[in-house]
């Protein structure tokens, strides 16, 4: 398997700036180090959308900046498109960066003029610039606004222009750092659809998506890594990450004649009345099986109208992981 992005034991720390008080009281004291990344291993396959999921301060942005040659790692190695990030002149033509910063354009210039400027920086051949910009403006649905000043754009339009800029030189790899952070729900949905259908589906780009939006990760990513305090805690497909650490098994039943006396190797987590039936969520215990639940209900005179397995969601897995982290810290 050939990987588009790889990280091997990546480490990065930042020195915390000392306050004037500290400088005055301990002039020769050592500055505090903040560990942003601690031994990150990462393998992103070609053509996949790989999510970096984590709370604020987890190290997602630092990792994206290392991969986009803006920050140097202290230890370890990062390889993008087969090139070490220390050879930035070989890596940069292979990547496009989309972040959530609206300020990364010239506000007095039109969208088209902004793209024209960056096209020259991205080494798009002169005769191809106009056609490429036209094509991209059409793809991100900004044709009508192309000659309006960037300052007049809405947040959604600004973000779409940022995507167009990242695509100017048609890089095989896109690094996206919270691309929908400042967008309203409708714009977020549209951008997600564009990422999934156009960038991955049509163009076959490899996309590294840093986000703390669980829904976004769930909808977009083929695989994801959960980052907490600079370390990768879990890597896998969305389904794998969802089930991570879960040993309980839960089912949702719609039952008539449910009562508290129904018992077996399970317990009811919740019971609610819906349309004359009871919706019961049961959790199996020990070696209990779904059959045990169904038999117990039927023996007690109940009728099972519907039954399905409850899939754990990503939010739950993520919350569980953070709870464990907190417990570790407390310990």
């Amino acid at each position: 398997m050939e990987y588009a992005i790889e990280g091997f034991q990546l480490e990065k720390f930042f020195v915390k700036k000392r306050s004037l008080r500290e400088l005055a009281t301990k002039p020769f004291g050592k500055a505090e180090r903040i560990e942003a990344l601690r031994g990150i291993d990462l393998h992103v396959k070609r053509g996949e959308i790989f999510g970096l999921l984590g709370p604020n301060g987890a190290g997602k942005t630092t990792l994206v900046k290392i991969l986009s040659c803006l920050v140097l790692p202290d230890r370890g190695r990062a390889v993008v498109g087969g090139q070490d990030v220390r050879h930035e002149n070989k890596v940069k033509p292979l990547i496009g960066l989309v972040n959530s910063d609206e300020r990364s354009f010239y506000w007095r210039l039109s969208g088209r003029d902004n793209l024209r400027f960056f096209a020259r920086l991205y080494d798009v051949p002169g005769p191809r610039i106009a056609a490429r910009i036209k094509e991209l403006l059409e793809r991100v649905d900004l044709v009508e606004a192309a000659d309006r000043r960037f300052s007049d754009y809405s947040s959604g339009m600004k973000q779409r222009l940022a995507v167009a800029r990242a695509l100017l030189h048609d890089p095989p790899i896109l690094l996206m750092d919270e691309p929908t952070r400042s967008l309203d729900p409708a714009s977020s949905l549209a951008l997600r659809a564009f990422i999934r259908d156009e960038l991955k589906g049509r163009d076959g780009k490899t996309i590294l998506l840093a986000t703390h939006n669980l829904r976004e990760a769930e909808v977009l990513c083929d695989r994801l890594a959960i980052l907490v305090k600079g370390t990768v805690r879990q890597v896998g497909s969305v389904a794998e990450v969802r089930r991570w650490g879960i040993d309980e098994r839960r089912f949702r039943l719609e039952v008539s004649n449910w009562h508290d006396a129904i018992s077996g190797p399970f317990h009811a987590v919740s019971v609610e009345r819906i349309n004359g039936l009871k919706r019961v969520i049961v959790e199996l215990e020990g070696d209990g099986r779904l059959n045990d639940v169904l038999s117990a209900v039927m023996v007690a005179g109940g009728i099972v109208h519907a039954c399905d397995r409850i899939e754990p969601d990503l939010e739950e897995a993520f919350a569980r992981l953070l709870r464990e982290e907190r417990a570790k810290d407390d310990a």
């Binding site: 803006l70 960066l97 972040n99 910063d101 990364s104 007095r108 210039l109 024209r116």
Partner: protein
């Protein structure tokens, strides 16, 4: 080379569009140039033409050429740092540094418009002086003038790059320009003839590169100085260029590397 020119044009065109979009400011700055020349022509009338240091030149062209060239040369001193800081604050530096354009070329090219605008301003000053106020230029050696301007710009660019390195690394606080901005006006023989300064200040002035440049451009434009007449100053400027340009490039490389290591390249 073609690639460099394309980038230079891109930065130049970007700044033209941006500057012209502020129409009032643009018109004001053009009007300001004419106002300065007019103001200077009246101000120079209160200056005694026999003032030591004018070396027989009329006060008006002496002052105008001093100020005009000082503005132009200061572009090389200040614009690198100003542009870096401006792009950091606007948030556009990151987008540029992610592109395949080398960082040094980004810094260098971002001043293309400033240099062109500085040259335009100088031409406006000189044209107004010649065509409106009847100043007579006496150029014997265009080569001496060209070398004087080129070497001053290059050596100043060396200092400008060192200055930009401080901004890249420390974000604010640039000791190089702090020293030069005050010092040049006082010691640089720009507006105050060095010979009217106290002896100690005259000694400092003799070591000030701007004073050498002023001697070359005034000599070449107003006194018909030949290449030999200003060879000493040109030699000193050439040595300075040979030292400062590599030092500036080295400094900026170190600053970029350190800022990347500390993750502060795009912070301000």
């Amino acid at each position: 080379m073609r690639r460099v020119l394309i980038k230079l044009w891109a930065f130049f065109y970007r700044d033209v569009l941006s500057d012209v979009s502020y129409r009032f400011s643009f018109l004001l700055s053009v009007g300001g140039m004419l106002f300065l020349v007019t103001g200077l022509s009246f101000f120079s009338r209160i200056v005694n033409p026999a003032t030591p240091g004018l070396d027989g030149m009329e006060p008006f062209p002496w002052m105008l050429i001093g100020l005009g060239f000082q503005f132009y040369f200061s572009t090389a001193l200040y614009s690198f740092a100003e542009k870096v800081r401006g792009e950091q604050m606007m948030g556009t530096l990151e987008a540029m540094l992610v592109s395949p354009t080398p960082t040094s070329l980004v810094i260098f090219s971002s001043t293309a418009y400033d240099f062109t605008w500085g040259a335009f301003r100088l031409i406006v000053y000189l044209s107004a002086a010649v065509f409106v106020y009847g100043v007579k230029l006496h150029v014997v050696s265009p080569l001496a003038l060209f070398l004087g301007i080129a070497l001053t710009l290059l050596s100043s660019a060396g200092i400008g790059l060192i200055s930009a390195s401080f901004i890249l690394y420390f974000k604010r606080g640039d000791p190089v320009n702090l020293f030069l901005s005050g010092g040049t006006f006082f010691f640089g023989n720009v507006f105050i003839p060095s010979k009217v300064l106290p002896p100690a200040a005259q000694w400092i002035s003799a070591w000030f590169p701007m004073a050498w440049s002023m001697k070359v451009v005034r000599g070449a434009l107003l006194q018909g100085a030949s290449l030999q007449d200003v060879a000493g100053e040109l030699g000193r400027l050439a040595v300075l260029t040979l030292v400062l340009v590599p030092l500036g490039l080295w400094g900026s490389r170190i600053a970029i590397r350190r800022a990347k290591r500390e993750g502060t390249l795009i912070q301000y």
